[in-house]
Every structure is written in C-alpha cells, then in structure tokens.
C-alpha cells in the first residue's frame, strides 16, 4: 500500500520544462495585455503546459487576484422545474464562453448563511432569485461582487421584462381566437407569486389595450377536484379562455374540465407556459407559450459580464424569443 498521491503540477514545473520563469508562464497562459512575448517562448510554454497536463489552481489565482471566476447562482427555495434546469445548462455554457464557471447553489438558506457562502467563494457575480436585504447588497457591492437580481424587489429585475411578455402572448392568442372574457389561473404555491404577477400584468395590459374586461384571477391547486371548482366559477362568470401561470396549472385546469365531462377548447380554452414534455401529451394537447432558453441564457451571461465591468445591461431582443406553440387546447 504505497502512498500514490501525486504532487500537483504547478506553473513552476511548466516554467522549468520550458526553460523560462514562472512570470513568463503566467503571462503566456493568461494572454496578459500590454505584455509582449516572443512567439518562440510562447510556443515553448504552451507545449510544456500541455505536456504536463497543467491546469492553474483556481484557489491560488483567486487568492492572488481577490476574485474568482465563479458566478454563483442562488436558486429559489421553490421547486425548480425542467425549464429552470435547461436554463441553467444554457447559462453555464454561455458563461463558459466568457471564461466564467457557473456554480449553482440550491436555496436552503437555513443550512448555510448566504453571506458566509459568498464571502467564502468571492464570486465574480451573484445571480439570485431571492431578494437581499439592503445591508447585504451594500456588503456585496463594497466587496466588488456584481449582483444580478432576478426578483422585482431589488434593482435590476432583469427577468421581469420577458415575464410580462409571456402573459401578453397568452392573452393575444386567446383574444385573436375570439375570446373576450379571460381568466387567469394562479399557482397555489405562494412562493412563486412574484413570478406570476408580471405574467398577469401582461395579460391585463392586453385586455386593457383591447378594451376587454379585466381578467378573472383564480387560484388553481394542482388537483383535479379543486381545479374543477375553479372551472365552474369561471364558467359562471362567462369566462371562455384561461391563461395559466404555467403548464402544470394549465394541466390542472384541463383535468378539472375532464372531471365534469367537459373539454378544451370548446367549454374553456386553456393556454399554458413552458412547453414541458407533458404538455403535448395532455388531453387535449396543450397550447402553450415557450421561451428560447438558449437566447435567455446568453443574454443573462452578457448581463453578468456587463455588470462585472460596471457597464449597463444589454437589451434583450425580447419580442423574438417568446412564442406560442399552438396545439389543441386553445
């Protein structure tokens, strides 16, 4: 049982093999601006690094520069679905293109104080769904951490714009199909309310613009019987088309309809959000609104980079990226 622990390959090893100093290795591998290196040296260093399988120590670099290349993403404490998952994948890819590493932390703020986390990691930026307190925001700012807040409360609310657009698309689709009295199906979970609000605002805006009555909002639990109640209340009010917070809520409405031997779109048109896999498998197949996650991910990455450099966030070409997937329920 020999101790098979290998010593780490350091920049000193690379320097030795290439016959240069550690500083030179650093310059070459980081393409340090305003440092010109002869082509020959550059190649020797690169080759030596490759031969040794050298990867710089993130810890040492972070310690030295005072800033890591990590972008810390704090997830909300509500259940995340497929769409957030694919979102993160795209975001990670987009950030990697900027030399940044995405680190996702599920939001169990109870287990580990949030301040401890970012002080330990010294991330280049923090993307957060949760709202921060003012002292926390100040502390992060003064530590040079760029903060991208996805909730409405904080400055920024970069995600708010597309969210409203999502609601608009739903309402427009229904209105164009001739529906005049619209309903809005709220999620049962209070934690996602702040996500639902901007979407509903979009629906309201469309109704106002078209001089239609204000949409009738109803909370729809993810349960067929409860959903059936909501459906009856809508029908009693003359509502003929419902925008649901997301596909799951929409599925609940569909289940509520089926329970009373009714069905979409004849008895009540339903449109969801997200286009989850179950949407096209529903009875009837669910019409929904989908967002191009790759574009959103790239935009979020650009926002992070801009924030790191103190520049203003780029504008998202919002109109193109959210579109209706027409199926049979509306």
């Amino acid at each position: 049982m020999a101790d098979s622990t290998t010593r780490r390959v350091t920049s000193a090893d690379v320097a030795r093999l290439a016959g240069v100093s550690r500083a030179t290795v650093s310059y070459v591998l980081n393409d340090t601006p305003r440092q010109t290196i002869s082509a020959g040296t550059r190649d020797r260093v690169r080759e030596a690094a490759a031969r040794l399988g050298y990867s710089p120590s993130a810890a040492a670099r972070t310690l030295r520069t005072g800033r890591s290349d990590v972008v810390l993403c704090l997830l909300p404490d509500w259940p995340i679905g497929t769409e957030v998952g694919s979102n993160l994948g795209h975001l990670s890819a987009a950030l990697a293109r900027h030399g940044l590493t995405l680190v996702v932390h599920p939001g169990n703020h109870a287990d580990r104080p949030i301040a401890e986390l970012w002080k330990a990691i010294t991330p280049a930026a923090v993307i957060a769904y949760t709202a921060f307190t003012d002292p926390e925001i100040a502390a992060m700012r003064s530590a040079g951490v760029a903060l991208i807040a996805l909730s409405r409360r904080d400055r920024g609310h970069e995600l708010a714009v597309p969210q409203e657009l999502v609601g608009r698309r739903q309402a427009e689709h229904l209105a164009q199909a001739g529906h005049t009295r619209l309903g809005y199906a709220y999620p049962d979970d209070p934690r996602v309310r702040f996500f639902a609000e901007p979407r509903l605002a979009g629906v309201r805006a469309v109704c106002a613009a078209r001089r239609l009555p204000t949409p009738v909002g109803l909370t729809v639990p993810l349960d067929p019987a409860a959903a059936a109640d909501a459906v009856r209340r809508w029908q009693a009010t003359g509502v003929t088309g419902v925008c649901a917070y997301n596909d799951e809520v929409a599925l609940a409405v569909l289940a509520g309809l089926r329970r009373d031997n009714r069905s979409a779109p004849d008895d009540l048109a339903v449109i969801g959000v997200d286009d989850i896999p179950a949407a096209r498998l529903a009875g009837p197949p669910l019409t929904t609104v989908t967002t191009d996650q790759a574009v959103v991910g790239a935009h979020l990455a650009a926002t992070v980079v801009a924030a790191m450099q103190g520049r203003a966030a780029p504008t998202l070409p919002a109109a193109d990226i959210v579109r209706v997937v027409p199926r049979e329920s509306a």
Copy 2:
C-alpha cells in the same frame, strides 16, 4: 464617487481585536483537535469574529490545505427533470450538514474540459453521472479526489440498486392486480438508456420469480401518434399492463390510448416513475412509483463522506424509500 471598496476582514483582524495571534484564531475557529484553548481566549476570539463579520477565505484555506470543501456534482447532458432538481436540493442540505458545499455543474463537457474543472476546483469529492475514462479516474484518485460514480460503468454505481428496485415495485404492483403479460416502455432518448436498463432488470426479475413471460420492451417516443402505435403492438401481443421508464413516457402511453379511444387501466394498465406534478393531473390520474428524495440525498451525502475518509459506503435502507402511489391508471 468615492472608491467604496472595503478591505476584506482577515483572521489577522480578528486576532488583533481579540488580542491574540492568528494561529490562535485558527485553532479556535476550526476546533482543531489536540489543541486545547482556554475558555476565556476562545470566547474572546469568537466574539471578535462575530463582531467583525468574519468569514474565512475559502481560497486561502484551499490553497493551504490542498483541498476545498466543495463537492462537485457533474450533471448528465440529458435534460434533467424535477426529480433531479429536488434531489440536488436535498443533497445540498445533507452535505451542508457535513460542512461541505455542493457545486452543481451542468454537463456541457464541450465548453470546458472536465479535467480542467476539477483540477481548478480541487474538490473534496466528485459525483458524476457520466462515465470517466480510466486515466481520468486514476488522475483523480492520485490527486486525492473521492469519486462517486452514478453510472454502472465505473466502480460504485451507488444509484443502481434503488433503480432496480423501482422496476420491481412497478412489476409487483401490476402482477398483484392480476396482469400476467407485461410490457416495458423505453424512453426514446438513447442518453438515458443506462438509467432504464436497471429498472427493466427489476421488472424482468419479478417476471422470472413469478414465472411470467419476459416483458415486451418497446420504445415510446413522447408523441401521441407514435405512442398509439406502441399501444397497438402491445395489445396485439396480449400485453395488459405496462411499466414505463418514467412518468413522461407513461403519459405518452396514456395519450396513445386516448388517441384510439381507449383508456387505462381497462384497455391497458400503466404505471410510471417519479410522481411528477403532471402525474396526478393526467387522464386518468397516473399510478406511479416514487422515491423518498430526502433519504436518498442523505444517503448520497453519507456515501461522499465515507469515500472521503476511505471508508466503505453505508448501505441504503432501500426497501422503505421507494413506494407505489396508487391512482387510477393501474
């Protein structure tokens, strides 16, 4: 526009305020074994740390000890669903209880070579769905990184056991309901095959034990028309009950049935896996198998800790944590 950048609070600051040396601060805050510290000193240090809002720099500690407290989780490149999401939440909480930080990295191995990632992070452990090459495994081992492989290929396959049990539960439920010819609904995505195999193996095992014919496996795309084809093939073979790879595939089978004006469980019984939110909203509500993610998360965390200490993995009380959620489809 003053420069509001605040200097970081270091252990030296704490030492100064407490009137002790940096070494003492380190001893106190880490509860260093076989170092006894007087109660008075201990309190003074603790209070000073709290007053200054001190959090140790992870970078410095990692650089010094050669190992970070990060557990790196490499996600597979196939779309992750709700169940993986909640799984990660629980895992993160469980690891936090051991003083470890979960870092999830979406699996875009193209964007950033995997070796670069772990060499940069120097994680205490790596949890991976993807299979590694032998040289990679050797490199990690010799760097002292504990590897927990979730795929069957590598040693360990800690997740494989419950997976087979999931299939068993499905088959048992169907068999107890009197079904003798079983079908298995494969996912269309080849990337999740290695996850499907152990589940099917569980179904096979039950059939063999009960002297039932081998289950008829069919690939079911997430599309109603294609699923209807599969349903007709099963019915032609005399299959009366189907175990689906997961709830989405099960939903597809249900959609296929509906398309031919047939329905579960009379024409074909269907049982899924995961209990996604859409399951109880399906038509009819989907019978499925669910796993207690909190227990699995805690077990995985225990496995990580054991691996870090070179101990054997604890055994999972598997039987209790996976159970059938009976609804109407089977």
